[in-house]
């Protein structure tokens, strides 16, 4: 695999998971606001259904992101993360992406479960 392709995979692994979580979090917040305010009461929005869909899509993206990072780590196993860039940087960020994607996966699951288990529309 060329260095260019490894770089693309590395950046995908580093950024995709975080961006997916950010989008899902904002969308989830918007769904709750829409469901719980006066105009949204007539729209028949189901917070739980939307949260399950968001969880599935986002978790899938995070898994893809993690696999991209894992691929880079495996393909750069002959290189040290302390080596000069670009190979060293590629490996370094891929290792960071592995850890980050695991954390994002946990955050996404907790975020969705919290929203589903909790009662959406009530006084705070």
């Amino acid at each position: 695999m060329t260095l260019r392709r490894l770089e693309i995979l590395q950046w995908t692994g580093l950024l995709l998971g975080g961006l997916a979580f950010a989008a899902a979090h904002v969308v989830g917040y918007g769904i709750t606001e829409a469901e719980c305010n006066s105009a949204g009461l007539r729209w028949g929005i189901s917070n739980d259904t939307w949260e399950v869909i968001a969880l599935g899509v986002t978790a899938g993206l995070v898994v893809v992101s993690g696999l991209a990072a894992a691929t880079v780590v495996v393909r750069t196993r002959e290189t040290s993360y302390e080596s000069p860039p670009p190979p060293g940087r590629v490996r370094f960020l891929a290792i960071a992406a592995l850890a980050a994607n695991l954390i994002f996966l946990i955050i996404i699951v907790l975020d969705a479960l919290g929203s589903i288990v909790n009662v959406a529309c009530r006084q705070g």
Binding site: Y81, P84, P85, P86, G88, R89, F92, L93, A96, A100
Partner: protein, 193 residues
């Protein structure tokens, strides 16, 4: 000039720089949440700050902010000196920045404590988010001060490639803290609007 100080043949920035950028990104997210909370609470309050709490001071915080921003210059000069292998200049600029940063932090601790006597952190939502946001910013300044102390300690034993990269990474951290402090002060002073 030692060989490890010459990074001109290397393509791209060192891993330490990228690692620091990731730290800055994650901390920015934290502050984004704080600032979002601040305005969420503000837009649900008829009076902000609530009655009985004074508006944030304007002059002293802006002067202190200007003092902190001046340290960007010696940090930048330290990073450039490190990249070209000038150890004495790197130490000098770092020490100069550290003195100013420490003075800034010491005054801010005093001011923070003084404000707590005026209105307590548990008083209401405004005081809670005010002290959380301001305290988090000061904590990041303290972390930067500790970075500088550590780096100066390491540089007493001379340069290595690791220490040169660390100088660049810590300078990046201070650029970010300076921008962060501008944003935080802007948010807190917006209560005067």
């Amino acid at each position: 000039m030692t060989s490890y100080a010459d990074t001109r043949d290397v393509v791209g920035r060192p891993a330490a720089w990228w690692g620091m950028l990731i730290l800055i990104a994650s901390e920015s997210t934290l502050f984004g949440c704080f600032i979002g909370s601040y305005y969420y609470l503000r837009f649900r309050s008829a009076t902000w700050p609530p009655h009985g709490i004074p508006e944030p001071k304007l002059v002293v915080p802006l002067i202190l902010l200007a003092v902190l921003l001046t340290t960007v210059v010696p940090m930048r000069l330290a990073a450039k000196a490190a990249a070209t292998g000038r150890l004495a200049a790197t130490r000098l600029f770092l020490a100069l920045a550290l003195v100013v940063q420490s003075g800034y932090f010491a005054y801010e601790v005093h001011d923070f404590s003084d404000q707590l006597h005026g209105f307590d952190i548990t008083r209401d939502a405004y005081s809670s988010i005010y002290y959380t946001l301001l305290g988090a910013d000061h904590a990041h300044v303290l972390l930067g001060v500790l970075f500088n102390v550590w780096l100066l300690g390491k540089l007493t034993r001379g340069f290595t490639r690791y220490r040169i990269h660390a100088t660049r990474a810590i300078a990046l951290y201070w650029y970010a803290v300076s921008v962060l402090t501008i944003v935080v002060y802007g948010v807190l002073l917006s209560a005067r609007a």
